[in-house]
């Protein structure tokens, strides 16, 4: 098998992407210029920072702290609101850069309005953040409530024909219930996973490092937990899954694909290593496919389920 016979293209819920690497939500904000750089750096699509209908302030710094194996963050879903994001979306869709708009909230009516605004501004797909671990009322508390999940996904579904991905929390006993509620209400697929609620304390001051005390753990520490979620979800659904959490090299990306993911998001590695890691991952995947004789990504999606 030579490099030329290989295609990295993937099709996830009618979204055609040139390769399976997507920028994770909230990483590097939502500036069109930065997103264009990430796209030029190799990513096939970007997920915008999670947006609420109205602007919302970020938490005060410290909002980020390093721990062994990753970072904790408590940005607090700060964002300038849906209308402000429209400007960025328009620039990006003019350049044909696929943008998955991420939205959060607790009122299904907000999702109706945001979906309309962002769909017409050119979002290629939607991701519903049902899983932020450090903001009261709009994150994991939504994902934990299957009825609310149903309402939010239905509200979004009724207002767009584009793919909708429900982003879930790794720290849930009712993970599969949330997934089922989202899919039954019309979600096209699942993004697994968001960060996991965590905390780090400074022993000298005796204080939590983060101004919000609690934050979300991202980075390589999260990877085996997120891979488990993707594998578990894949045992129960035929819809596409996007793996997210702790991808740091091509092998950790391939693990997600073998576990059942059709695409993979990258986040923290862009800080712990650099934006150039995207290209290294793509080259690594290509080398792997040559070695294994795979022509398309779909040749090895979910393969880890076959030998069990």
């Amino acid at each position: 098998m030579s490099q030329e016979q290989i295609s990295l293209e993937v099709e996830i819920a009618e979204l055609s992407l040139r390769n399976p690497i997507i920028l994770a939500s909230g990483i590097l904000g939502h500036s069109a210029e930065i997103f264009e750089r990430i796209y030029e750096g190799g990513a096939a699509a970007v997920v915008g920072k999670s947006i609420s209908l109205l602007p919302r302030d970020a938490y005060k710094p410290p909002a980020v702290v390093e721990v062994r194996g990753g970072f904790l963050n408590a940005i607090g879903l700060g964002n300038p609101g849906a209308e402000a994001f429209v400007q960025e979306l328009k620039k990006l869709s003019a350049k044909k850069i696929p943008v998955i708009a991420s939205m959060f909230g607790s009122d299904p009516e907000d999702f109706v309005k945001m979906t309309k605004i962002l769909d017409s501004a050119g979002a290629s797909a939607f991701e519903l953040n049902l899983s932020c671990p450090h903001v009261k009322g709009v994150g994991t508390e939504v994902g934990q409530d299957p009825d609310l999940v149903t309402k939010i996904v239905s509200a979004t579904r009724r207002n767009t024909s584009k793919p909708i991905f429900a982003k879930v929390s790794p720290s849930s006993e009712i993970l599969l219930q949330t997934v089922k509620a989202a899919e039954d209400a019309g979600a096209s697929g699942i993004t697994a996973t968001n960060t996991i609620r965590a905390m780090a304390l400074d022993v000298e001051s005796g204080m939590p490092y983060l101004s919000n005390r609690y934050g979300g753990l991202s980075g390589e520490a999260l990877h085996p937990i997120a891979v488990r979620c993707v594998y578990e979800i894949a045992e129960h659904t035929k819809n596409p899954i996007i793996g997210c959490g702790g991808v740091v090299d091509w092998e950790s990306a391939v693990e997600f694909i073998l576990a059942g993911a059709s695409a993979v998001q990258v986040g923290t590695v862009l800080a712990s290593k650099s934006i150039g890691t995207i290209e290294e991952i793509l080259n690594g995947i290509k080398g792997y496919m040559v070695r294994k004789g795979y022509r398309r990504i779909s040749d090895f999606v979910g393969l880890a389920h076959s030998g069990k």
């Binding site: 590097l28 939502h30 400074d202």
Partner: protein, 270 residues
């Protein structure tokens, strides 16, 4: 792995000395292995538990390093009232430092932008290269580092109100010196509106620049995007950007920036 090897986990350091630079700005000295290996232009993020976290340029890089703090916010006020023996927390150093180009440099700094240029001037002097330093402030009281700078290079003092040295904004004085054609590179730590004006002059003369930028930072490590200017991240690609990079983000320079929540707002002049 020791938790202290986590460069982005704040570590407590004791203030070994406080120097009042001008009755307003204070230099806080501390021993920190990471900072002592920094390069001019690198910055740290200083944390005061329960108060605030703030990016700070490293003004002196040595076995005892320093940051020089201007009291413009609750956190910087608290820092300016600290005493020898008190504890502050640091993470970093971060960012891309100044790179030494050319043999005869022009350095321009004003106010809080002076810190990294002090370290840079010493570095240039240690390489036995020539440099001229425009030491600027709004008024005479704002001037800092004069004696230390004078030991390393030629210092041209200037104030906006003319209370000391040449009169005018830093960009005005700088553009005058650039025009005489003597220098082969410009290093500047100023507000973006000033930088914008200097860049136009430097570009007209095809003179390379290295600008130290400051934008609001939530993370300092390239995760959050709040510090972006065009396609660049001030915390990772900067804080020092070169002519090519400035060219690419010139539309934003001194015009608009993002808040920590991602909203676009105009850049103010100080």
């Amino acid at each position: 792995m020791d938790s202290h090897t986590l460069v982005s986990r704040p570590r407590a350091v004791r203030i070994t000395k406080v120097r009042d630079e001008n009755g307003q700005a204070k230099s806080l000295f501390f021993r920190d292995e990471f900072s002592s290996k920094a390069l001019p232009g690198n910055f740290v993020i200083v944390w005061l538990p329960g108060i605030e976290e703030m990016p700070m340029n490293i003004s002196r890089i040595d076995s005892e390093s320093s940051v020089t703090v201007w009291p413009y916010s609750p956190g910087t006020n608290a820092l300016c009232s600290m005493k020898e023996g008190d504890t502050i927390w640091l993470r970093g150093p971060y960012g891309n430092p100044y790179k030494i180009l050319g043999n005869n440099s022009l350095l321009i700094g004003s106010g809080s932008g002076l810190s990294p240029l002090l370290a840079l001037a010493k570095h240039i002097a240690s390489k036995k290269l020539s440099a001229t330093f425009i030491l600027h402030a709004k008024t005479e009281q704002g001037l800092i580092f004069h004696n230390e700078l004078a030991k390393t290079c030629e210092v041209v003092t200037a104030t906006t109100d003319g209370s000391k040295g040449r009169k005018g904004k830093a960009s005005y004085v700088a553009n005058g010196l650039i025009a005489n054609g003597k220098f082969d590179v410009v290093y500047a730590g100023l507000g973006e509106i000033e930088l914008r004006m200097i860049f136009e002059t430097a570009e007209a003369r095809k003179m390379p620049v290295q600008f130290g930028l400051e934008r609001p930072m939530l993370c300092g490590v390239g995760l959050c995007g709040s510090c972006s200017i065009g396609k660049y991240l001030v915390c990772r690609d900067g804080p020092v950007l070169n002519s090519e990079q400035i060219r690419e983000c010139f539309a934003e320079l001194g015009v608009f920036r993002r808040t920590k929540s991602g909203a676009i707002v105009p850049v103010k002049d100080y």
